[in-house]
Amino acid sequence: MSGIIFDIKRFAIHDGPGIRTSIFFKGCPLSCWWCHNPESCALGIQHVDFDFKGSRIIGKKMSSKELLKEIEKDRDFFEESGGGVTFTGGEPLLQSDFLQEVAALLKGADYHLALDTTAYASPQVFSKSVELMDLVLFDIKHMNEAKHFEYTGVSNKPIFKNLEYLIENDKPIHIRFPMIPGFNDDVIHLKLMTDYLKSLKKIERIHLLPYHKIAAGKYEKLGIENKMNGIEEPSENMIQEVKNYFLSRGFDVRIG
């Protein structure tokens, strides 16, 4: 089977433990305002004009065997560092059959597997896809369904349902919180979120990902409207405040 991959990043060191190879799946059901990889949203292969490089093709059809071959190259680094493979995107669950096939192939060769996901998927697809994962990197964007819908284009209900599934099944999770100024960094929301995470009982740490304007240029080149125009990056102080709040609620915090 093959899937559409838009990037493979070796020496990824912030997507789970150790040195990892991150596989970027193309296509995403969400349309978050702050998305860092707008080129990953559409499922198909795209042609885009990029400055000095001329036209660039975004997305590549790859078979699971080809992917395995690319991943095998850094096995020595994974073994030395306790690293492995992270599936990210886009949203890997959008190509769940392919994801499951690749995961089975890799698990057969004893790789550590992590899934970086929006968790926006049916319970059937989700539970089957996480089965072989050693770790799930799980984004929480907003607790309020209407707000979530406004800024991401989808409801957060299925997402929380899937999170609860992971908790019930004792799956190791890293909670990641993209801190977006004016959207989810107010104390009322932070309280709602931490209350919820506390109720799950098993969450010890929050990975805080402050909003960054990195992708502004990509929006321009892709000709996509950038809804974040005019919104500034959070200051060091603002980040520290959110961090302190999480700490005060008894969570360990990592930035990045």
Binding site: R10, G217, G256
Partner: protein, 550 residues
């Protein structure tokens, strides 16, 4: 100091102060005797000083603060002693005034146990505090050395002045064993100069000249004729149109290579015979075993081991150039070899678009791509077979290592455009590092490519990795850089040094994106290729880097 000098160097040093003074007198003696650019150094300094340091603490001879000051003064001594002035070609090949005294820390003791001690850490403090170019410093890292040691060294690396460099003790020992040294001499060895492997105190190992590997290709493509000097320098290995497949071309390159290596060795042996006869070094001979018992001078083969190294230069450039020929001419057949030759002769004038295509699409060394790396292995094997084991005039053998000092720039100036897209007179690739901008898959792929070299059959290789200091800012980055190094060493890599990226570099990269496609910077909790970022973000990172430079 008068009191100290009453005792040393005539007698054994009684304490750490005398030991340091003792060494410095010897250093002065050696460099005065030969007036060479000699890379003479105190070797495994932490091993030598540790007993004196312990004694001073146990017997309350000196305070730690005073001993630190002694070491700092020792550093200043080195720093105030540049190499003798160089002129002509020597100045171009080694365009620096550093004297290449390389302090070795860590590694293994003669009995094979972990040699890292308190003095290793103290000396790392001194290196960090002094922050001067000379003496140069390195750590030897064995699989038996603790992570704490490499992590402390990385903290110094992070400060961004290129020191210490990091060497694989276990590889060095195997290199020395492969060269026929006994295991104790091998464990007491290390690296000196840039990266040159040697058995300290028992070996005369001498660099006898850089060898321009890509130049051989230029001569091959011109049937033995050199466009620069307009002379027939090599044998006639066939007109370019006779290269109907890649194998014939590569064979011709090998024939030219062997011809020039023969020439080089012939010349070297004349020079060595002259040194043996006219340039005795009796003072140095006193310190190197077994010159006295052999009754022979250091320069006449008196040492226990005698090695003459020939340093291969431009491994990345020759690999990429062969790869470009193979890929575009013989596989894709996009142009004939004659057409390509015209592009080279005209320095890609009016063919900029095609040059860009070559730069970007050719399989290149440094990407863990076997299409290029297999060619690199063929080049390595050919060079190794041409040089290794051949006898020298003083009874030793020739061996190879792969380092350029600054000759990759000088050698580049002697070559026209190359098939890899490099324009005429531009620098060649440096050490075993990929050509500037050729590697596109991050540090693990550079390391994988570099580890396909059979390091254990060399006398040292030099790998430069660019590194943004911010990568080392948090524990995660530090831990993974450590793992990167450990993995390279597990794969028998010889040496790695980190080129910590400065704002200057970034500004240059912004102006010349194509030459800096491999530059990685840390953005915000993750890393990315600098040239891929937007203008604004690039400026922001430049500012941030400027800030952290302060």
């Amino acid at each position: 100091m008068i009191e100290v000098s009453e005792n040393v160097p005539q007698n054994k040093p009684k304490n750490i102060w005398e030991a340091l003074q003792y060494y410095w007198y010897v250093h002065q003696g050696v460099i005065t005797e030969l007036n060479p650019w000699d890379s003479f150094n105190p070797g495994r300094l932490d091993q030598h000083l540790m007993p004196f340091y312990q004694k001073a603490l146990e017997e309350n001879l000196f305070s730690t603060a005073f001993m630190r000051e002694l070491l700092q003064s020792f550093w200043v001594k080195f720093n105030n002693h540049p190499s003798p002035p160089k002129t002509g070609v020597t100045a171009k090949e080694s365009n620096t005034f550093t004297d290449f005294s390389l302090i070795n820390l860590g590694g293994l003791k003669a009995d094979g146990s972990n040699a890292v001690n308190d003095m290793s850490y103290l000396l790392l403090d001194i290196i960090e505090e002094m922050r001067i170019l000379q003496p140069s410093s390195m750590i030897q890292l064995s699989k038996k050395n603790p992570d704490r040691f490499i992590k402390r060294a990385l903290k110094v690396v992070k400060t961004g002045f290129g020191q210490p460099s990091i060497f694989n003790t276990d590889a060095i020992i195997q290199e020395l064993l492969n060269q026929g040294k006994n295991i104790k001499d091998a464990r007491n060895g290390g690296a000196s100069g840039c990266i040159e492997t040697g058995a300290f105190g028992t070996e005369a190992y001498i660099l006898t000249g850089y060898f321009n590997l890509p130049k051989i290709l230029e001569v091959t493509l011109n049937n033995g004729f050199d466009p620069l000097t307009q002379k027939q320098l090599g044998p006639k290995t066939g007109d370019i149109s006779s290269f109907v497949n890649f194998e014939i071309l590569f064979q011709a390159w090998k024939t030219q290579l062997n011809h020039f290596v023969d020439l080089k060795i012939k010349g070297n042996n004349i020079i060595e015979a002259m040194w043996a006869k006219y340039m005795p070094a009796p003072f140095l001979s006193v310190f190197i075993d077994d010159c006295i018992s052999n009754g022979l001078d250091y320069n006449a083969g008196g040492a226990r081991y005698n090695t003459s190294y020939i340093q291969g230069v431009g491994l990345g450039s020759i690999t990429d150039s062969l790869s470009a020929l193979k890929y575009w001419v013989f596989e894709k057949k996009e142009l004939s070899i004659n057409d390509l030759n015209v592009l080279l002769k005209t320095d890609f004038e009016d063919a900029e678009a095609f040059r860009q295509k070559i730069l970007i699409e050719t399989p290149k060394y440094g990407n863990d791509d076997d299409r290029a790396d297999d060619l690199m292995k063929d080049v390595f094997e050919s060079f190794y077979q041409a040089v290794n084991g051949r006898p020298t005039a003083r009874g030793g053998v020739f061996r190879i290592n792969l380092l350029p000092t600054t000759s990759h720039v000088y050698f580049g100036g002697l070559i026209g455009a190359l098939p890899d897209g490099r324009k005429a007179k531009m620098p060649l690739s440096e050490g075993i590092s990929p050509f500037q901008g050729a590697d596109r898959n991050g540090p693990t792929s550079v390391i994988k490519s570099a580890s396909k070299i059979d390091h254990l059959r060399t006398g040292g290789t030099l790998l430069n990795l660019k590194l943004n200091p911010a990568l080392l800012e948090d524990e995660v980055g530090e831990e993974q850089i450590k793992n990167l190094i450990r993995t390279y060493f597990k794969l028998d890599g010889h040496h790695v040094q980190f080129n910590v990226v400065t704002a200057e570099t970034l500004k240059e990269a912004k102006k010349k994106p194509l030459e800096n496609r491999d530059l990685i910077v840390r953005v915000a909790g993750y890393s990315d290729y600098f040239i891929e970022l937007t203008d604004e973000l690039q400026d922001e990172i430049i500012r941030r880097t400027e800030h952290s430079d302060m």
